[in-house]
Amino acid sequence: MSVDTSKVADSNAGEPATPKKPGKAGAVANWADERLGLAGLAKKNLRKVFPDHWSFMLGEIALWSFVVLLLSGVFLTLWYTPSMGEVEYQGSYNPLRGVAMSEAYASSLKLSFDVRGGLLMRQMHHWAALIFIASMMIHLLRVYFTGAFRKPRELNWVIGCLLLLLGTLEGFTGYSLPDDLLSGTGIRAADGFMKSMPVVGTYMSFFLFGGEFPGESIIPRLYTVHVLLIPGILLALIAAHMLLLVYHKHTQWPGPGRTEENVVGFPMLPVYAAKAGGFFFIVFGVSSIMGGLLSINPIWKFGPYDPTKVTAGSQPDWYMGWPDGALRIMPGWESHFLGVTLSWNVFLPIIVLPGLMFTILLLLPFIESWISGDKRDHHLLERPRNAPTRTAVMVALMTFYGLMWAAGGNDIIAIKLHLSINQITYFMRGAVFIGPVIAFMITRRWCISLQRHDEDKLLHGYETGIIMRSAEGGYSERHLPISETSAYTLTARERNEVYSPNAATDSNGLDEKGGRLDGLRGRLSTLMYADNVQPPTAAEVEAAHHHADDAHELQASLEGHAADGHQFDGHHSVDGENLRGDH
C-alpha cells in the first residue's frame, strides 16, 4: 500500500494534514465490517489465487447450471400441481381437450401453453439438467485423468461421486413429474426394477407407491424428493465440495515456478470473480438459447400417462441411458424357486451393475493409492500419458459406458442407420466385454508411445523438418533442443516405483511379514508402472547432448558454404540465422 506523502506536514506550524472523509461506499463497508467482521475474511480470500486452465472450469459449468436449475425450477413450482387427481383437460392445446388426465400433467400442459414463458422455463430447466449431469461427468473425467483425486483430495472425489449419483436421481425424479406417457413409462420401469429385487423388492415398491402401481401417491412423493430432499442434500454437498476445494487449494499443472508448495495463477478479485461470474452468464445464456430454440420433452405429444399405452422411442434421459442399454442387451434369464420368479434379466443389469460401477468409481483413488503406496500430498497434476494404466482404466470404463449407452439407443440406431435391432443387440452383448479390454490395451500403449515421444524431445530435441544431405548422400533430419521451459515441464514428474512384495525389510533387516494381498499388489504395481517411460536423469540429458554428433559431422562439410536457403522460408527470423548448429 503506498502512502500518500503529499499531505504530510513539512513543519509544525500551520494546518496539520487531515485525512479525507471516507466515501459513501467506504462508509457502508465499514458499517458492515464493524458488525459482521467481513474484512478479515475478505482480506484472506478475495486475493486467493487460482491457476488458469480451461479444464479447471468444467466443474464450474456444473455449478452454474445448478444455479440455472434452481432459478428455473422455482418458476416451475409456482404453477405445477403435484397431484394425481383426475381432471378433464380444458386448456388451450386443442388435441387433448376433453381428455381425462392427472392434475400434474394438466398443470404441465398449462405451464407449456398458458403460462407466459412457461415452456421456455420448462425447456431451460430440462436442458440445464442434461448439462448439469454431463458437466459433472466431464469434470470427473478431468479430475481422474490428471490425477487430481490423489491425496489429500480423495474425500472430495467421494463427495463428487455422490453429487453425480444424486444428480442422476434428481434428474430421474424430475423426468417423472410431468406424468406424461414417457414419464409414466419411466416410473413403471422403476417399479419393475424395484420389484426385481429378491425378497425386499415388492415391499419397497408397495412402500414407495403407497400400494400397487401406479396408486395416487407417487407424484406428490417424487415432488417432495425432487424439490426439497435431493436439492437440499445437493446444496450441502456442493458447499462441502467447494469448501474442501478452498481448503486444499486448487491443483495446477507443473511448470517453471510451480511447486507442490504454491499455487501460481490469478487472484479471485478481480480476475476470477470476472471470469467465473462471466461464465455463469454464459451458462445461463446457453441454457436459454437451447431452451428457446431446441424442443425438449414435448409432453403434449406424449399424452397423459396410461398404463395401457407406450410409445416407440421411450428412453430415459441420457444419464440413465447406459443402465437402460444394459437392460436391453441382457439375455432373458429367469429362475423359478419355490414359486418365486427371480428376474436376473432385470436385477443384474439395472440393480447390481450400476451399484457395482458406482462402487468401482468411488474406490478408484483408494485402489490406486493402495497399489502405489504413495501417501504424500499431491498438488501438481499429472498428464494423462504419464499415468498410462490409470488413463487406460478410465478409457476402458468410458468404452464400457459408451457401448452401453449405444445399446440404450439401439432402436434409434437401427432406424437411422438401417440396421437390424437384433444384430445390434447381439453385437453389443460381446462388445461390452471385449471393447473395454481393447480400449485398455490401445490407450496404455498409446500413452507409453507418447511418453517415448516426450523422452525423444528431451534427449534429441524437436524435429525441425529440415532434411540434411551429406556430401556422401546420407540423409538426416535436423533436431533442435526444446526450450528450457518445455524441458522443465516435461521432466517435472516423478519416477514410478514398482512395488515388490518381498523387498521390504523391517528395522532388524528381516523380511517384513507381508499382508495376504501383497502379491496381488505387486502384480498390479508391475502392470501399472513397469512399462512406463521414466523421466531421464540429469546425466542422461547431458549425455544426450552428444548424441547429435553424427548429425554435426554431416553438417561439417557445409560450414563455410552459402546458406542453404531454408531459413528464408518465411517461418524464421533471418537476423541471427543459426541453422548450422555451431553450438
Binding site: 386443442n94 458437466s135 461464465f279 454464459i282 416407440a312 428412453q315 441420457w318 441411458g321 439407443g409 437384433n422
Partner: protein, 268 residues
C-alpha cells in the same frame, strides 16, 4: 335355400344399377389389370395370385386372394410393390404404375376374393363437421393413436424399429388414403385393424389427429427429429457441453497478460 340365393342375387343386381352400368368398363379394367399383373406381379405371387412357395417352405410372394383392392392400392401407389429386391421389408420408392394402372391392378386382384375396397375421401375426411365435433374427433383420434399406433410408429409418427432390420415407417408424409388402407389391410408387420376393431369413424379420427400433429407448429423450437430422449441427449452433449467447453477454453485463453505485440517503433 337356392331360391333364396337366386332371389337375393337378382334383387341385389336390380338395386345396384350403378355397378351394373359400369360392369363393362370394370371388365375392361380387370383385363388390363390382368395384363399388368402377369408382367409385374405373377413372378412372386403366382399367375392367379395363389402365392409362390419356395423350396424351403417359406413364402416367396404371399397369396393375394382376399387382400382386396385397398391392399393393392396401398402397396402399389406407395411404390412398395413391385419390389425392387427381396428383403426384410418392401421399401417405399417412386411408384412404378400410375393411378390408372394401379386401379386396374386393384380391380384385377379384387376378383381373387372379397376384400376391403379402396376407401373414398368421405371415409377419412372431417368435411362438413362442426368445429366442436371436429375438435372432439381429433382428441378422440389422438387417444386411439396413442393406444394403438405409437408403440411402433413413435409418439410423433416418426417411426420406430421392428425386429431384424424392419422398421415401422414414418407416417408424417403418408397420404390419408394410404393411412386408412394400412390400418385396414395391415401391410408387413403391421396389425390389420378391421372395422370391428377400430370403426371407420375412429379410423377417420386417427387420421385427423395425425394430420393435426403433422400441421401444428413445433411449439418448443427445432424438433430434433422427434425421436425422444436419445436425440435430446445427443444435442445436450454436442451443443450444450460442446459449446460450454468451447466457452471455457475461450475464457481461459484470455488472461490478464496482454497479448499485444510490441510495436516496431517501440522495439527500436
Amino acid at each position: 335355400m337356392l331360391l333364396g340365393l337366386v332371389l337375393t342375387g337378382s334383387l341385389y343386381s336390380a338395386f345396384a344399377p350403378a355397378q351394373a352400368g359400369s360392369a363393362e368398363s370394370n371388365d375392361a379394367l380387370v383385363a388390363e389389370g390382368r395384363e399388368l399383373f402377369l408382367v409385374s406381379c405373377a413372378f412372386c405371387h403366382g399367375k392367379n395370385g395363389e402365392g409362390v412357395v419356395t423350396v424351403n417352405g417359406t413364402q416367396y410372394g404371399p397369396p393375394l386372394a382376399g387382400v382386396g383392392a385397398a391392399a393393392v392400392d396401398f402397396q402399389v401407389a406407395t411404390g412398395r410393390m413391385p419390389m425392387a429386391q427381396p428383403g426384410q421389408q418392401s421399401a417405399v420408392k417412386a411408384r412404378i404404375f400410375d393411378e390408372e394402372e394401379t386401379a386396374a391392378l386393384a380391380a384385377y386382384v379384387a376378383t381373387f376374393g372379397p376384400g376391403p375396397a379402396v376407401p373414398n375421401e368421405s371415409d377419412y375426411s372431417l368435411e362438413g363437421m362442426s368445429d366442436a365435433d371436429r375438435e372432439e374427433a381429433i382428441s378422440r383420434g389422438g387417444q386411439i393413436f396413442l393406444t394403438n399406433c405409437t408403440a411402433c410408429h413413435n409418439f410423433g409418427g416418426n417411426g420406430g424399429a421392428m425386429p431384424r432390420g424392419g422398421q415401422a415407417p414414418s407416417i408424417l408424409n403418408t397420404t390419408p388414403e394410404h393411412i386408412y388402407e394400412a390400418m385396414l389391410t395391415g401391410p408387413g408387420n403391421m396389425d390389420s385393424f378391421s372395422n370391428g376393431n377400430i370403426s371407420p369413424e375412429e379410423k377417420r379420427d386417427v387420421i385427423a389427429y395425425i394430420e393435426t400433429i403433422r400441421n401444428q407448429p413445433e411449439y418448443g423450437g427445432f424438433g430434433l427429429g422427434g425421436l425422444g430422449p436419445v436425440s435430446e441427449g445427443l444435442f445436450g452433449w454436442v451443443v450444450g457441453i460442446g459449446g460450454l467447453v468451447g466457452f471455457a477454453i475461450w475464457i481461459a485463453a484470455h488472461t490478464t497478460r496482454t497479448t499485444k505485440q510490441p510495436s516496431k517503433g517501440a522495439d527500436a
